[in-house]
């Protein structure tokens, strides 16, 4: 570990990562019947990391400092020349996502109340998932990163496969195999790069990438770095998910129980975007620059295509799932543009999508718990019986739509304006096309709102109770974040900016 890159040392990240795992062990020791204790432990094991992460956000973390902070590094596996370190640390790009993870994990516990066949294994797996996701965000060692990446896959498989909807096995297997296929590509690239330069340390690999020092052989007419780039890109693109690797997402979302959908949309997808800026682009920057335009095109296809397909859905949750494909396309577009605003917008969009799409899934969950179906055409006039729910749902969906004053607008506008400024003038056309997606987003969201909430009351909906306190408790923090970050985006941008500038200097050797 290059000590120059380390600003401060601390064990707090380890605590944030592993407290859920301690909670999991504790839950396994509790008798099966005592569910209230299980829920209590789950709540505590997600609340403490949230408090710690908040303390890091507003306390320990130094804004405007280069490099990684709160680093803890110790040798983990040593076998001859083979050396793997346990290295964790954060910068402005990972910190917001770590915080978001702890928040959504905390929200997921009360939101799980209505999951059918609930048992203590559910909470144990949920906590294990939290540990895996946080671990990916804090890892500074690629091997560790990969281990956490796989750790989070397993609980997700069971959470969808056991507590999901009618087609849960299909969805779970599809999710698992699809992600695993990506992981294999990542592993191949990882081993090849280790054999080339003999390090798993992400900062060191970035330095090698910046110096252009990868020496691996060409293969089938493509350079070593290009191969590594595409392998890593596909691994992360599956997670984003970007067209054409997205079809696991709607199935997984529709079958997963509400809190798992929230985590899936809120943070699991961010692993893809985060993986690109931490474990792909800066490691092989030359190959990235060569192929940036293709990524931009894929991003725009995701935006427009995702919006069109969302418009064609009749399942409420499936529509929201496809809206994720559309919104995450902005992340790819902003990154590919290689401008400061574009990159900032992409990083911001990841966080904002994390809050707004998580809120949208909670909103869908509320109506599903009452109607036990999600057919958009079988509602109507729900606003009359559930006025508070209508107000919150409108809020959430308009945040997702990118209404100014709410968070999504800042990131989408920054992304679009940033992409327009790209040195590659072909991006201007891409921005123009993606504007179509902006209009379509309005179309499918308003159409859905109209069909569910407005117009004459559907008789079957007339006994629905309004949204209750527990549901508001889960939803309120997300909506609050959408509002605050829409009005004061600097609460994220100030934190991220230095790291974004640093990232840009890694990607653009000229600047």
């Amino acid at each position: 570990m290059d000590s120059l890159l380390t600003l401060s040392e601390s064990t707090i990240l380890t605590w944030i990562t592993f407290i859920p795992l301690i909670g999991m062990v504790a839950i396994l020791c509790v008798p099966r019947q005592n569910m209230s204790l299980v829920k209590g432990i789950a709540g505590l094991a997600t609340f403490i990391p949230l408090v710690l992460a908040t303390m890091v956000y507003f306390g320990d973390f130094q804004i405007g400092a280069n490099g990684y902070q709160l680093v803890q590094s110790t040798p983990w596996i040593t076998a001859g020349k083979f050396q793997v370190n346990y290295t964790v640390g954060i910068d402005g790009l990972s910190l917001p996502l770590v915080w978001l993870t702890t928040l959504l994990m905390f929200i997921a516990v009360p939101a799980s109340e209505t999951v059918p066949r609930l048992s203590k294994a559910y909470y144990a797996l949920l906590l294990m998932l939290g540990c895996g996701i946080t671990g990916v965000f804090v890892s500074l060692d690629y091997f560790l990163f990969y281990v956490f990446w796989e750790v989070m896959l397993l609980p997700m498989y069971f959470l969808i496969g056991i507590w999901g909807g009618p087609k849960r096995e299909y969805a779970a297997i599809k999710f698992f195999l699809y992600t695993l296929a990506g992981s294999v590509l990542m592993l191949i690239a990882l081993i090849a790069m280790y054999l080339d330069q003999g390090t798993f340390s992400i900062p060191e690999m970035m330095a090698i990438g910046k110096a252009g020092a990868w020496t691996g052989p060409d293969l089938l007419g493509m350079s070593f770095t290009t191969w590594a780039f595409w392998f890593l890109f596909i691994a992360f693109a599956i997670k984003i998910p970007c067209f054409p690797f997205h079809t696991w997402l709607p199935d997984a979302h529709v079958q997963a129980p509400t809190p798992i959908s929230v985590i899936l949309a809120g943070i699991l997808l961010k692993l893809g975007g985060y993986g690109l800026i931490r474990g792909c682009f800066p490691i092989v920057p030359d190959a990235f620059r060569e192929n940036a335009y293709i990524l931009g095109v894929l991003g725009v296809i995701s935006i427009v295509y995702g919006a069109y397909v969302a418009l064609g859905q009749t399942d409420f949750k499936r529509m929201v799932a496809y809206s994720s494909v559309s919104h995450m396309g902005f992340v790819l577009l902003g990154m590919a543009a290689l401008t400061e605003w574009g990159m900032n917008g992409a990083a911001l969009q990841m966080f904002n999508h994390g809050t707004s799409s998580a809120a949208c899934f909670l909103i869908v969950g509320v109506i599903y718990d009452r109607a036990h179906h999600r057919d958009l055409n079988a509602f109507g006039g729900v606003a009359q019986v559930m006025p508070r729910y209508w107000a919150l749902a409108t809020f959430g969906f308009f945040a997702s739509l990118g209404l100014p004053g709410l968070a999504g607008f800042v990131s989408e506008a920054m992304t679009l304006v940033g992409a327009f400024q790209s040195d590659d003038s072909r991006f201007q056309i891409l921005v123009l096309i993606s504007c179509l997606g902006v209009v379509l987003t309005g179309a499918y969201i308003l159409w859905a709102l109209q069909r569910v909430f407005l117009g004459p009351l559907n008789e079957k909906c007339k006994d629905f109770p309004d949204i209750n306190g527990r549901e508001i408790f889960s939803l309120a923090p997300l909506l609050f974040l959408c509002l605050v970050l829409g009005i004061f985006p600097f609460y994220l941008l100030d934190w991220m900016d230095t790291s974004v500038v640093e990232l840009m200097s890694l990607l653009n050797p000229g600047s």
């Binding site: 295509y305 006039g381 902006v438 159409w447 100030d494």
Partner: protein
């Protein structure tokens, strides 16, 4: 020289949007529990806002007399905050610093919004009584006002856009107000209308966003004053012409105006928007929402190239005439007003477009268009509220064919509506005259100064539209207030509206009369100098010399009003002559079309010398087309909406069957391959192993036969072997 605005003034300006915002928050959370469901709270807040904006208008009027210093960039004096980043060292081109821009145009518009909005609030107390979501209505209308006030005060394009979109949201919620009401007979229409309004304007908004991205790419700033300056530099660098990219970007910005200000063909949302409660229509059609588009043109005028202005002229003229023809066929009292709004917006937009080509008086069209936005806000708000009063009095009947003879039942409403009808028709002494006359004059200047078809086209469209305006507005008056009652039941129960409504009507009507020009004070009835002009543009009508305060430090005659300067240098006397000539001709045309339209309405609907049914029968398909709004809605449904749905369904199919199909295919292939492997494994690989084992077994069973355990046999084998070996040795 000292800055004319004190720090108190700045704080008051900050309070202007803050008050309705605070009222919104209080009202949405507490409204239901407050006495009177809190209707007094936003109304009182708006009263304070009105007082502040009017006071500030007088400050501005006082300062304007001293010259253009008042309109300098106010960054230094005003409150400023960094939006994207708080870090002080952040490159300002990447950060977004927001402040307040308070200039002549802003002062006028702010006061208009404050005044109109207060009276709409007051009116609503009477009109909305007993509504199911009464407190929510007041909260929303308050936030709607907040959005417009913020838009007017924004000193940069991005903040303008934010408030612009916020207004879109509020219009969505307010137009859809009745979509929650199970007792409303038009609950479905309201639900569809609010969606349509939001989506149609969003098409325009997205164009605007793209245009903004283009300007930002070249200018690295969203601040208006910087953009104006950089545009001037860019044009100067380019030898006095606008570069192509500015034309393209300008067209995209104008796309935003087309959406918000309901220009053809994005006008389709506005007639449907009357599904909202009538006070909301008054807000949307007058001071907020549609005015925002025209206001945007005022703020971005120096960025628009002459080519863009030509497009603006044509679109505006077409809209003005097109909507006016429809207005003559509508029977819904609010529908007539809705189409009249579209038509009047066409006037404003066309006027701003003609500013680029008018040669006599520099910038007359721009001033006239913006001025018409101001006067129109007064009389259109009053007209809508009067229509609301009529609807309220007739127990929610909106069809004019069932009204008639109401003038004795509702004398005050009648008075207010008549005044504003005279104003919108452009009758001298009424506010609309002062702005509309200048619009026609601007069109005349283009005709007199240039060849080309755009000038005559605009003039003919606008003159015809003005004539039709008079016609359909008096048609409305005659059908509603004159003649015999068509439906005795409605007539019997009709009553004058309660006090808050009538007070609002009369207050706005008096502004409809005097809002353009206080001629009663100085006797200058022809309106050589209006208060609005003194704020934005000093025009010397004798020489045609002008001095503009809208864009400090810019010489527009070197930019998009270049034709005027060229003509002047070429022949100064001729241009002065054109100015006079246009003015005289405009007056004649204005009065001529006014009388013609009035005469037509009288013949058709008052003395009934001509039977409208005969005329419509003669017109046949032409009438049917107009009465069906030229089938624009059907065309949009058939092309855009159906096209989108087809694309959507196709892509959903592709997604399910091809993209996902491929994934499933890969899965199935692998699974099948697995089964093949399993078969091979079981039958071939394992079979080979079994074969080896089998062969071994066979061999061993053969060999086993030898293993008998009898000594005699082993000895005989040994002997035989020995004989064989001996034979071998002997033979070799």
């Amino acid at each position: 020289m000292d800055h004319p605005l004190t720090s108190l003034d700045w704080n008051l300006l900050l309070a202007v949007p803050a008050i309705p915002l605070a009222a919104y928050v209080l009202q949405i959370f507490l409204g239901k529990r407050l006495p009177g469901k809190g209707d007094w709270l936003p109304t009182a807040g708006m009263f304070v806002v009105m007082c502040i904006t009017v006071r500030m208008l007088f400050v501005a009027l006082g300062a304007a007399g001293h010259g253009p210093f008042f309109h300098e960039s106010v960054r230094e004096g005003g409150p400023v905050f960094g939006w994207f980043y708080q870090a002080a060292e952040k490159d300002p081109s990447l950060n977004l610093v927001a402040g307040i821009l308070y200039d002549g145009l802003g002062a006028a518009m702010l006061a208009v919004v404050g005044v109109v909005s207060f009276f709409v609030h007051l009116f609503s107390i009477g009109y909305m009584k007993g509504d199911r979501r009464y407190h929510i209505f007041f909260a929303n209308i308050s936030l709607f006002t907040f959005a417009m006030l913020g838009l007017v005060l924004s000193d940069n394009l991005l903040f303008l856009f934010i408030f612009w979109e916020l207004m879109g949201l509020m219009s969505y919620l307010l137009i859809g107000h009745f979509s929650h009401d199970p007792d409303s007979p038009r609950i479905n229409q309201a639900a569809a209308a609010c969606k349509k309004a939001f989506l149609t304007t969003r098409v325009g908004d997205t164009c605007l966003l793209f245009g903004m991205a283009m300007f930002y790419y070249h200018f690295q700033t969203f601040q208006f004053s910087e953009m104006w300056r950089l545009a001037a530099e860019e044009v100067a660098r380019n030898g006095g012409d606008y570069p192509t990219w500015m034309t393209v970007a300008g067209l995209f910005v104008f796309g935003g105006t087309m959406g918000k200000s309901a220009q053809f063909p994005l006008h389709i949302w506005l007639p449907d928007a009357m599904e909202g409660p009538t006070p909301v229509s008054a807000m949307i059609h007058a001071a907020t929402m549609v005015a925002a588009g025209v206001f945007l043109l005022g703020r971005t005028f120096p960025l628009l190239s002459p080519e863009v202005l030509q497009v603006v002229t044509v679109v505006g003229s077409v809209t003005a005439l097109f909507a006016a023809t429809i207005g003559c066929t509508v029977n819904d009292i609010k529908g007539v007003l809705a189409y009249s709004t579209i038509s009047q917006l066409g006037f404003m937009v066309a006027a701003i477009g003609t500013a680029g080509g008018a040669v006599g008086t520099v910038g007359i069209g721009l001033v006239a268009g913006l001025f018409h936005m101001v006067t129109h806000a007064f009389f259109k708000a009053c007209l809508f509220l009067s229509a609301g009063s009529v609807i309220h009095g007739c127990h929610h009947e909106q069809d004019m064919r069932k009204m008639g003879g109401l003038r004795k039942k509702m004398p005050l409403t009648f008075t207010a509506m008549l005044i504003c009808t005279l104003a919108i028709a452009g009758t001298p002494l009424f506010s609309g005259f002062y702005s509309k006359d200048k619009i026609i004059a601007s069109a005349w200047e283009v005709v007199l100064g240039h060849g080309g078809w755009i000038g005559p086209f605009a003039l003919v469209c606008l003159a015809l539209a003005a004539m039709l305006t008079t016609f359909y507005m008096f048609r409305l008056i005659f059908m509603t207030f004159f003649g015999k009652p068509k439906d005795q039941h409605i007539h019997d129960h009709a009553h004058e509206s309660p006090a808050p409504m009538v007070v609002s009507l009369l207050a706005l009507a008096s502004l409809g009369l005097f809002g353009g020009k206080m001629w009663a004070m100085d006797g200058d009835v022809l309106g050589e100098h209006t208060w609005f002009e003194s704020l934005v543009w000093h025009v010397d009508h004798e020489t045609g010399e002008t001095e503009q305060f809208l864009y400090p430090g810019l010489d527009l005659t070197k930019m998009n009003i270049a034709s005027a300067a060229e003509a002047r240098i070429h022949d100064p006397e001729h241009t002065a002559h054109i100015g006079h000539e246009a003015h005289t001709r405009a007056l004649i045309v204005s009065l001529g079309v006014l009388l013609l339209g009035l005469l037509g309405a009288v013949m058709f609907y008052l003395v009934r010398k001509i039977d409208p049914a005969r005329v419509t029968a003669k017109l046949g398909p032409v009438y049917t087309t107009i009465a069906n709004k030229y089938y624009i809605d059907e065309m949009v449904d058939g092309s855009v909406i159906r096209g989108t749905m087809v694309l959507s369904r196709t892509q959903t199919w592709i997604d399910e069957n091809i993209v996902d199909g491929l994934v499933i295919l890969i899965g199935r292939t692998n699974k099948a391959f697995g089964f093949v492997c399993a078969w091979i494994d079981k039958n071939i690989v394992d079979g080979f192993v079994n074969l080896v084992a089998g062969v071994t077994q066979v061999c061993s069973s053969v060999v086993r036969m030898l293993q008998t355990g009898r000594i005699q046999q082993y000895v005989s084998f040994a002997v035989a072997g020995g004989i064989l070996l001996a034979a071998f040795h002997i033979l070799s």
